[in-house]
């Protein structure tokens, strides 16, 4: 039990949870404003992810800074087709990211296998078969604006995190999570 969990639990017991919600609001606001992205770029969506982070669409104004190192990042942006050979690497990189972490599935290939759904023997049909995905972006490849809109939507999810353990909003419960065997250490 980390120190923060005990503090969260203690704050939770205060009458009306006023202090906990205000601390949560501050913590979630600061996390939401600086979601550093781990660009898991494999295919064409990586080109759009690069275009989104450069001067014309400028991801940095949303506080999203692409860092190619899982240790420094909060959001893993899966950009591009995931093949069977790449799946263990993506899973390991997700595990190596520090908590709290989120996953954005960018492009049809990561959402459901997309154009490579039929007749392929080596494509993973959807990243949520082995990763807990939070935001799905449709498009092949999606426009940089829709990618940036995904980060703005992700802030709503970030706002629902709480430092007190065990508080999960119904929206987070409703999200599809991978089956237990490849399960997220919830």
């Amino acid at each position: 039990m980390a120190l923060v969990d005990r503090i969260g639990a203690a704050l939770g017991r205060t009458p009306g949870g006023l202090i906990l919600t205000s601390v949560d609001a501050l913590v979630d606001w600061s996390r939401g404003q600086s979601l550093w992205a781990f660009p898991m770029g494999t295919a064409c969506c990586a080109m759009e992810l690069i275009a989104a982070s450069f001067s014309k669409f400028d991801f940095d104004r949303l506080g999203t800074f692409p860092r190619p190192d899982p240790r420094h990042t909060d959001v893993m942006i899966l950009a591009g087709t995931i093949t069977e050979k790449m799946k263990p690497a993506v899973r390991r990189l997700y595990d190596q990211m520090p908590d709290p972490k989120w996953v954005v599935a960018m492009g049809n290939c990561t959402v459901s296998g997309g154009i490579f759904y039929y007749d392929t023997y080596s494509v993973v049909r959807g990243a949520d078969t082995f990763l807990p995905v939070d935001v799905y972006i449709a498009g092949c490849p999606p426009r940089p604006e829709s990618l940036q809109d995904a980060i703005v939507q992700l802030r709503e999810l970030v706002k629902e995190e709480s430092i007190a353990p065990g508080r999960r909003s119904e929206r987070q419960v409703a999200l599809p999570r991978p089956p237990a065997e490849g399960g997220d250490p919830e």
Binding site: E84, K85, D119, Y121
Partner: protein, 148 residues
């Protein structure tokens, strides 16, 4: 161009046919290596493509070679049986064949005798079966419904 190749057909048993864009040379598989050396002498110094086609009862190896000096292209085709298919590797003639032969081994299962580093190149090492063969069945491949 044709007289260059005439020697090929006489002693190597090659059937040469001319198409409007390239010369097609059909070679029995055992003479492939000597034919390759012969072609390089003639001037075909670039190996463009190495691939295989699964014709059902046997495989057809297709090589495409280009000659910059003669500015002409040639297809070299040879048939190999379906059971334990092996063909001699052309790595020592054209090093460009190295990776492309590894890819044909990876997707078709055709072994190349004399290849310096015969490993799978695209699929994971322990991948069952050879995907590009016509009789490759994989449980998690979902066939596309035939609208047309």
């Amino acid at each position: 161009m044709a007289h260059h190749l005439s020697r090929l057909s006489t002693d190597l048993g090659a059937r040469i046919s001319e198409r409007f864009d390239a010369v097609v040379i059909e070679i029995p598989a055992e003479n492939l290596l000597r034919a390759a050396y012969e072609l390089r002498e003639i001037g075909f110094d670039r190996l463009g493509m190495v691939t295989a086609v699964d014709l059902g009862e046997d495989f057809e190896m297709v090589y495409r070679v280009t000659s910059r000096s003669l500015s002409s292209n040639a297809f070299v085709k040879c048939r190999i049986g379906r059971v334990d298919p092996t063909v001699s590797s052309l790595c020592e003639v054209w090093p460009a064949a190295n990776w492309q032969e590894r890819e044909v081994w990876d997707l078709f299962g055709i072994d190349f005798a004399g290849h310096p580093d015969m490993r799978r190149i695209l699929l994971p090492e322990e991948w069952p079966g050879w995907p590009l063969r016509k009789d490759y069945d994989d449980p998690n491949v979902i066939r596309r419904p035939d609208y047309i």
